[in-house]
Symmetry: C2
Subunit: 282 residues, 2 copies
């Protein structure tokens, strides 16, 4: 079955690296080598106001013994211009286009197999400034949260000290709630056992996830025979999967290991249904 | 005498922290506590295109046994909006205003003591994305380099691995030269000894300076009786004044300890003179 993740954020926030780390893939960012050329062109062609592209890459992966077709939708150009007015618009158009695609399919008389291309989750990458969400962050999240499951992450969080992360998270969650922006909350069912309920609460309380990703496999400082994802600095080694070093494991649990099905269900039963009824009542 | 440093870059790049670290001061950023409120207001009032403010703070400091009046000019609002068109314009206006102020003073018949408020150096903070300079970086630097000594720095460079910093620096310097943007180069005189020439070359080759700053004094890992500026992470301690950890010492040498007088002289003899002759020939 399909699992489609939208990744949004300015260039250089480690989006490609995080996706590679989460899914143990080597998605190559095909736009990366053109960066310098593209930026120079942009400057010469007068920084185009609305150029946010939609880029997709797919891979078949196996999770919990289940094969799934993972598609990552990337948005080069988002937030990278001098003028980022309406940067959200091409992204929302894309989400709608995929809803429409499903709507057409549902309406067919003869329905053959179909790739469900609807966006099941949006990972929004927040710059680790330590201050607060930017106007662009707030505008994008307001435009998107009713159309797909919003999961905010603090990019490259290894740049921040623990106490800085703590107060940054508090500020962010307050800003989101003040602007009535909903983030995805793992559902809790009556019949869940206490451990499951605790985990769901913990996952929600940890938002936004302060993540670290890495393309490098380095020697585990605790076990010389083991290779782990990490970043090796002159002053120490950051271990991506060490929950004292980042919230990577929490994000992986939410997005892949524990709540992938819930993300797909909510997209189908609630977000898509809202879109459909709004469209049909116009 | 006066030494005036202009600090430009998006919010959250550690500008205030770096200035505190360089000059061993506790400049408080008076705009900081308003951040959340200001950002919310901005969103409500429709993100104002040209609101870049000019903020100054001064302190008398002692360097090499010499007392000097340090003024730091900050630019809140630079690059922090959805639309950052002409973000450079209020900054260039401010530099010109200070040149005009000096021009008026020079033309007076009775000249009393005068605070030289011309900008002697501009520290431009580059986001540590690892890719390349943004359109805003290039536009700002093109507008400013003929008016004041430009010193580009890579902000919060502890986020990047050594090899990432190396290739980022190469990309940045190439982009600057392709756009014919000059950065301040420590002058070499015929009578300089070899050590001095080597240091001047080294300072130029190290551009842009990959800096780290900190407001925290922590225990020196090598000497428990000593307190040093650093950032204490679960995985290790970053020492601001350790040249294996950052180029902080190089920047401090260039800006304060070795070339402060050269920065002032070049401003007076070359940059101001160019401004003056351009103005008088119009
Ligand atoms: N410090 C730090 N650097 C990272 C992290 N993730 C990626 N990077 C580095 O940031 C740079 C840009 O990463 P990339 O994944 O290409 O960013 P993208 O443009 O958002 O896709 C690369 O040099 C990465 O090694 C992280 O979690 N922490
Ligand atoms: N990792 C890292 N964080 C820094 C550095 N300098 C400042 N910070 C942190 O970044 C945040 C914003 O710093 P600040 O100086 O207020 O940034 P400004 O808005 O540019 O003036 C604070 O939480 C600082 O502790 C640095 O060199 N490295």
């Amino acid at each position: 079955f399909n699992f489609n993740v939208l990744c949004v954020g300015k260039p250089g926030l480690g989006k490609t690296t995080l996706i590679n780390s989460l899914f143990n893939q080597e998605f190559n960012d095909s736009t990366k080598d053109d960066d310098y050329e593209t930026h120079n062109e942009e400057l010469n062609e007068k920084d185009d106001v609305e150029s946010v592209q939609i880029n997709t890459k797919s891979a078949v992966i196996e999770e919990n013994g289940v094969k799934l077709k993972l598609t990552v939708v990337d948005t080069p150009g988002f937030g990278s211009h001098i003028n980022n007015t309406n940067a959200w618009s091409p992204v929302v158009k894309e989400i709608n286009r995929r809803f429409d695609q499903y709507l057409d399919y549902e309406n067919k008389v003869n329905r053959t197999t179909f790739d469900d291309m609807r966006i099941h989750a949006c990972l929004y990458f927040i710059e680790p400034t330590g201050h607060c969400l930017t106007p662009l962050d707030l505008e994008f999240c307001s435009q998107i949260h009713k159309k797909c499951n919003l999961i905010p992450v603090i990019a490259k969080s290894d740049i921040m000290l623990d106490e800085e992360i703590k107060s940054f998270k508090t500020t962010i969650m307050k800003q989101l709630s003040d602007h009535q922006i909903n983030v995805f909350q793992p559902p809790i069912y009556k019949l869940d056992d206490n451990d499951t309920k605790e985990m769901a609460n913990k996952l929600y309380e940890t938002l936004p996830y302060a993540v670290v990703g890495s393309n490098d496999m380095i020697q585990d400082p605790q076990d010389p025979n083991k290779m782990i994802r990490g970043r090796q600095y002159p002053w120490g080694i950051i271990e991506v999967e060490n929950s004292k070093h980042s919230d990577f494991n929490y994000l992986r649990d939410l997005l892949i290991r524990q709540y992938l099905e819930e993300l797909r269900e909510k997209t189908h039963n609630i977000l898509y249904e809202n879109y459909r009824s709004n469209k049909l009542t116009k």
